[in-house]
């Protein structure tokens, strides 16, 4: 149930803000307002550790004087601060240069349909119940095995927010949404080897969260399986990205076809539209209207309508990821991606995780990546990794303190298979991804 009264109150503030901008001389303006409330409770070693009550708000405004732009934001919604924020944005616009590409979206691209995407499910959770849940989750992890030696605790989070945005073209919309999560992180120890790992579940509807016991058990299992890891000698071999980290590979790809990197020519996929970027079997699409999904929204950060669409089909790049500004810089139209992609999905093949291991044969299963070693300009990729060494489809032993390296352009082209072990927790939905060959560096 949407709190229409509160949404309307915030809409009025946004409208006042837009009116104020106009009265200060702006020829166009855009404003957004968010209000969030939440509760986070964590438990460690069987007792409550922190109880955090969240209550935050913020508004941002962008004004245009012709093609001159200025922005400001404030967490203080008093009339005086709102006025100050608008004046600051207007003052800035006097100093920025005219940019022929800047400005609001074209009227006809603004969203006009606002389907109920089922994003709002309040969780009537008392502090006591939250503590109980966190303790249950952590207990499941700690009692899982004798080698679970310590804990960073389990935590329960529930957040509800209202997001309103409007612009001087008459767009004024708002909706309420929720996000709940349960997570657990524990340590395992055997001799000198100490390892930590975690598991979590997140959903817009608390009823869809994985059970506390299951989350605890998985966290424990993941920490245990890393014990007594070794390095590998330097070599080249196939690499299987587990589903929960494969999304990073796709995010790098999305970065390379995003407007900002394209018009700055700092992408390894410049002018790659209509060319073969992936093998033929790869199909990647965006599903912004999925019911109840974490990434769903009827419009993007500028009010532009979002659409279900193909980004890659038959391995060929069909569309970039653009906001209004970056689209104009490139002589194209916005793809409704101000603020990023929504529910990006790569179609799965027929293999489950075990099948993917078999397909990997002998090589590296990567379950964790560290560091930022991705160069968007060149596609050079070199990151710290941990995972498992696999021979003949069987996991042999944990591996740590290695790096995996390659060039993203080649890595994307050399994807061998995408598993059906799909990870649904994030904004990118993918199964595990097998890359034909990468360089491993170790001892």
């Amino acid at each position: 149930m949407q709190n229409q009264e509160e949404i309307n109150r915030l809409k009025n503030i946004v409208q006042d803000l837009l009116d104020e901008a106009k009265s200060q001389g702006a020829s166009a303006a855009e404003a957004g307002l968010s209000q969030e409330n939440g509760l986070s409770v964590s438990a460690r070693l069987g007792d409550v550790e922190t109880i955090e009550h969240h209550c935050g708000q913020g508004l941002g405004i962008t004004v245009y004087f012709g093609q001159h732009k200025g922005s400001s934001s404030t967490s203080d919604l008093s009339p005086a601060s709102i006025k100050e924020a608008v004046s600051a944005a207007c003052s800035i616009a006097r100093y920025t240069n005219a940019d022929e590409y800047s400005g609001l979206p074209e009227q006809e691209r603004l969203a006009t349909e606002f389907p109920d995407l089922d994003l709002n499910h309040s969780w009537d959770l008392s502090v006591e119940a939250a503590i109980k849940l966190a303790i249950e989750c952590e207990n499941a992890a700690r009692s899982y095995h004798a080698e679970i030696s310590n804990s960073e605790g389990a935590s329960v989070n529930t957040h509800q927010g209202i997001h309103v945005m409007g612009n001087s073209l008459g767009f004024l919309q708002g909706y309420q949404s929720t996000r709940h999560s349960l997570s657990c992180s524990v340590l395992a120890q055997r001799g000198d080897s100490m390892q930590r790992d975690y598991w979590y579940s997140v959903s817009r509807n608390a009823q869809n969260l994985e059970s506390a016991v299951s989350i605890g058990n998985k966290a424990a299992e993941r920490a245990l399986r890393r014990l007594a890891g070794r390095s590998l000698s330097t070599r080249q071999c196939p690499v299987l990205y587990s589903a929960e980290i494969a999304s990073g590979l796709l995010s790098s790809f999305i970065g390379a076809i995003s407007g900002g990197n394209l018009y700055r020519k700092s992408s390894f996929l410049l002018d790659a539209i209509d060319s073969q970027v992936f093998p033929e079997f790869v199909h990647i699409h965006e599903q912004p209207h999925l019911i109840g999904a974490l990434g769903s929204a009827a419009y993007d950060g500028e009010g532009v309508a979002t659409h279900e669409r193909d980004i890659v089909s038959a391995g060929v790049l069909r569309s970039y990821v653009l906001s209004t500004y970056s689209a104009r810089k490139l002589g194209l139209h916005s793809t409704g991606n101000a603020g990023g992609v929504r529910n990006l999905t790569i179609d799965s093949g027929t293999l489950d995780f075990q099948g993917m291991l078999k397909q990997l044969g002998t090589g590296l299963l990567v379950t964790e990546l560290m560091g930022q070693g991705v160069n968007m300009v060149t596609g050079d990729y070199s990151r710290g990794a941990a995972g498992f060494w696999v021979e003949n489809g069987e996991i042999l032993y944990p591996v740590e303190e290695i790096t995996i390296a390659g060039n993203l352009k080649d890595m994307l082209k050399n994807i061998v298979a995408v598993g059906n072990d799909v990870e649904y927790r994030g904004n990118v939905r993918t199964g595990s991804i097998l890359v034909e060959r990468m360089s491993i560096a170790g001892e």
Binding site: I51, Y95, A98, Q195, T234, M370, G371, I402, A405, A441
Partner: protein, 479 residues
Amino acid sequence: MKLLNLVKQAILTPVGIQDGDIEKIMSRLLSSPVDAADIYFQSSHTESWVIEGGIIKEGSYNIEQGAGVRAVSGEKTGFAYSDRIELPVLLEAANNVKSIVRQGQEAQVGLKQAVNWPQYYPIANPLKSLSDQQKIELLRRVDTETRKLDSRIEEVIVSLVSAHESILVANQDGSLAADIRPLVRMNVTVIVEEKGHREQGSMGGGGRSDYSYFIDQDRALEYGKEAVRQALVNLEAEDAPAGNMTVVLGPGWPGILLHEAIGHGLEGDFNRKGTSAFSGRVGERVASDLCTVVDDGTLQGRRGSLSIDDEGTPTEKTVLIENGILKGYMQDKLNARLMGVKSTGNGRRESYASLPMPRMTNTYMLAGQHHPEDIIRSVKKGLYAKNFAGGQVDITSGKFVFSASEAYLIENGKITRAIKGATLIGNGPDVLTKVSMVGNDLELDSGVGTCGKDGQSVPVGVGQPTLKIDGLTVGGTSV
């Protein structure tokens, strides 16, 4: 105290909160038998300007203010915050927070006279240190001068950011501590192209100062030169080798290795909980005897410096490792109390909306005896890492990684070819035991570091002299 009054005027006066109101909120917090409680008020003003494609493209101004209320009992913490600094809201927050412990009696708290502590930066508002017109002219000048440096330059992006933040902490003993924190930063990114091959270089700096910092010693123009130099080096760079080899780290920013590999593992919370690879190792050897590492919040005007931390504790120069022996951890109040030591002034928080934790300030290794040239000369085959893009650590397993943004091969005691895409990986507790030479050229970084922990970002500094490490894994593509 003048500073305290200034901060009260900046945060409390506009919202009509008086000393008596703070006493009321604190009394409410202390009506349960808590071990510690604090109220944190914050107000910050931030601006940023960007020139790109030769035009002043963006400018923004941000106002952030609010208050956080915390009560601690044993290992338990109750916390609430609000952007509305209003008495009823904060009393309600105090009610929510103190429920962490059972009900007690109404307590009375009286605010005390504040004591003085040293200031390590000026309090003037950096946003006002130049007129808007002058800020624009500075950006234009950097853009124009940088573009002149080489015909292969395709794009120059310069950003200028500054913040003026006031904080006030009221503690359960009735003490008030206040701080006014300026912070400025400039960054220049350059994209170069030659025969269809593009590379990028980046350089920036800043500190707790005002905009004159970038004009003094022509720093702003130097950032441009340095960004171009790095981008051009990368044009020539070859694929990085892979495998275990001797690595020489340059002075200054490569001190991020200390921050990642050692620093995080020495934060009090992880050690109190026993989750760090360094837990329980005080008094043990964790580095070669050439290594002495400190965390120092007291450096004048540095990006990571703080006069007081976010719990009102004056910062210190804390010795973490002395001649290779682990001396102690960085502490906030909660973890210090639970470990039976004193806070080292490392309790920091991103804002009123998040809980304080032990965090680093400026972390660096003291200078040693060797001339940097002698260190390079001593290496037959290895890697010289001059600059890094960033890193990450798993404090439990101790494994760390970071990416070199500028690196060279060392062959027969000489720096030879530039290489690209090198990632270094190692084990935190081991890496400093392999330090075999320490240079006499200690440098602190130029003031660009931001550290993330549990989703909270805070500005930090790093530094070190030239270091030789016997054996680190280098991850490249050329096998």
